[in-house]
């Protein structure tokens, strides 16, 4: 059974600081997704990582994937308040591309 663990679960950071969210998964997979969820809203796709060593960047967020270590990271650079949200990683776990999600990291960026 595939297990996906994110840490930390809660993260408060000052504006302008850098931080990394980690996503570990338990079985081999070749696809990993990062989503963002704002309070009361649905999930918005941020990144799709399709191979070992994949790195994608959008604004202040950068995601990477190490399939050998079964680890993905979401790095936040010079955080701003608008990045406050819950971030989920999800791992492809089957032939129909069903996903197994981590528990989410609730990020709060403080002024």
């Amino acid at each position: 059974e595939l297990k996906v663990e994110q840490n930390p679960l809660f993260l408060s950071m000052q504006e302008g600081k850098n931080y990394t969210i980690y996503c570990n998964y338990s079985t081999t997979s070749d696809r990993l997704y990062w989503y963002r969820q704002d309070p009361g809203k649905s999930l918005e796709s941020l990144f799709v990582l399709l191979s070992n060593g994949a790195v994608k960047q959008e604004g202040r967020l950068m995601a990477s994937l190490d399939t050998k270590a079964r680890l993905s990271t979401l790095h936040i650079t010079a955080a701003v308040h608008d990045l406050s949200a819950t971030y989920f990683c999800a791992v492809d776990s089957g032939s129909a591309r069903q996903l197994t999600f981590g528990s989410g990291t609730q990020l709060t960026v403080l002024p």
Binding site: A96, Q98, S103
Partner: protein
């Protein structure tokens, strides 16, 4: 622009009632999914479908059933609602694996309260 819509944003039902949650996508996606989201538990897959009239159990199918009579529509059914089914329900769809459409796109969610 991908659009996944769900029939209700908020729903209040009584224990024992039959509940229908509808999801429609307009991107001709093959795959559709139903999740529930609970605090501290993330999203858990209830059922998914990879084709019309096809369905597969996810991680927590007990107490739920689904129907997919048309490609664009995927319904989640609670045959006899119970209080432990109070949750946020999210529908998602995705295209054929290996294509640009394979990312799952989510609907706005239905927050269900069972009294």
């Amino acid at each position: 622009d991908v659009k996944v819509t769900q029939s209700s944003r908020y729903l209040v039902k009584r224990t024992g009632e039959k509940v229908f949650l509808e999801c429609v996508q307009d991107m001709d996606h093959e795959n559709m999914f139903w999740y529930r989201q609970d605090p501290g538990l993330g999203l858990r897959l209830i059922y998914f479908s990879y084709d019309v009239k096809m369905k597969e159990k996810g991680d927590i199918p007990e107490g739920y059933s689904v129907s997919r009579e048309k490609k664009e529509r995927f319904s989640l059914i609670l045959e006899s609602a119970s209080t432990n089914q109070t949750s946020m329900y999210l529908c998602a769809s995705s295209g054929h694996p290996g294509t640009m459409k394979e990312t799952q796109y989510f609907g706005p969610g239905t927050r269900l309260l069972v009294l």
